[in-house]
Symmetry: C2
Subunit: 253 residues, 2 copies
DNA sequence: CGTACCTTTGACTCGTGTCAACAATGGTGG
DNA sequence: CCACCATTGTTGACACGAGTCAAAGGTACG
């Protein structure tokens, strides 16, 4: 499961998928699980983390109903989490970007309730949960971080609940674009120009809309000069306008 | 905040709102936080738990943006959690029945992101979070339980996401009724006859529907002999039929 | 007993889904 | 290198479920 292929010299050390970089050296350690752990505590965390080969597009990281073993931090690429209903439909419950942690749905019932699928070539850090638990008993900050991580998942799920319950197609899509924009910005990437890692179908599924509606809304946003849309590449041309559409005004008093 | 009024003799000891019952004696300890803790560990948990006077209908347990101090286990009554959007709308994100724990949304940002409001007279056990964290470092089972509790909140939020994203008004309402029915059953109450603690407005808000739609669907369910609806009292007359409407078939192979 | 709130029901509207046709893209093999 | 086919995305016409508006009936609380 975790064979290393990082023997390909120079290139590998530069590559984002490179599995040899430890938490201490990782460019994501300011936003990922290790935030504000002490240096030697980071090493202890690092010791239990396993880094395998990258996942290819479409590959499963884990599947719904599989026994729960680990949570995963995204190192590179994007992973989607999908909930399968008892009548066989799929619901995308989240998109996970580098530095974000997924798999915590599995803790309660000791099996995953979601499946996780790579949307593009992606690398992850595997965090075996029982070892993380043991370590948490010794490192209060780690325990605290993990509680916060799970709480963050709860609040973001509740944000999505609100979005689905209260907002129109335009508002939902504007909100998603702004969320991705913000998260890119936090990773020192452009907030105004980026490539969507997911298909229109994934967007629609996530936001409770059909493909056609997603397509139409993006076209409309382009016509009204909020965006430039070129396939999966998005340029936000009017950030304030987009925030207005999403009901997320920057200033209003 | 936690003044005791349980000095009213006999009656108080029988009353569900009675604040003197400890975790060890509580009729909910099989489904609440103490599950499978050892007897003396339960006492340690019990030591940090604070039990105040009951909340009256409409009273706030905590408010959005207040500093986060504690999570709360419902002892009696029902509490709703409400998320306030930045344009002032309210979204009900959950209904909490006796034995269920709320407030975990506050951990991530150190303030509550929801408000919690009593739907009827309700009593809660307050669990100061930092003391619970300290205790968790000593009691691995407690740490584990708390991770599981938060994971359960995540999975149930994701169930709601799926419901809102994929299901019709009929399916949403049938699902909610079945959820309440099941949770009542787990509390040794009737699965087929119960009183809804929330208003039509709360149901609609929770399920992303208008009051009118909720009312119409309930009327339709009654006409098709799935339910008997008498104000807030619900009798499920055709459990299998209701499950079929909710796409939750009992057997289908 | 009156007033305010909650619920029900009806008529109409509108946003999003559905169905369908077509365009664009990307990967594969000749 | 290009032709082919599968997949993905776009656009239009139409339908339908749930929202909106409006009015009236019920219920609860002071």
């Amino acid at each position: 499961m975790s064979e290393s292929i990082a023997t390909s010299s120079d290139n590998a050390t530069k590559c984002h998928h490179n599995p040899t970089v430890s938490c201490g050296d990782c460019r994501l350690n300011a936003i990922c699980l290790p935030i504000s752990l002490h240096v030697d505590d980071i090493d202890k965390l690092d010791d239990i983390i396993q880094r395998g080969r990258p996942l290819q597009k479409g590959e499963y990281l884990y599947r719904s109903n599989e026994p729960f073993q680990s949570v995963y931090a995204v190192r590179s690429g994007t992973i989607k989490a999908v909930n399968i209903t008892n009548d066989g439909q799929e619901q995308v419950t989240g998109f996970y970007l580098p530095g974000e942690v997924l798999g915590m749905d599995g803790i309660a019932q000791n099996h995953y309730t979601n499946s996780a699928i790579a949307l593009e070539t992606a690398a992850v850090c595997e965090i075996p949960f029982s070892r993380m638990e043991d370590l948490s008993l010794q490192l209060p900050t780690l325990q605290r971080h993990f509680f916060q991580l799970m709480s963050k998942e709860i609040t973001s799920d509740q944000q999505l609940i609100t979005l689905l319950s209260k907002n129109s197609a335009d508002e939902r899509i504007a909100s998603l674009l702004l969320s991705i924009s913000t998260r890119n910005h936090n990773r020192h990437l452009s907030a105004t120009f980026f490539r969507l890692p997911m298909s229109r179908a994934d967007i629609g599924n996530y936001l409770g809309l059909t493909i056609e509606t997603v397509s139409r809304v993006l076209s409309r946003f382009q016509k009204s000069d909020l965006l430039e849309v070129n396939k999966k590449e998005i340029t936000i041309k009017d950030m304030d306008g987009l925030k207005r559409v999403a009901n997320m005004e920057t200033a209003c008093g």
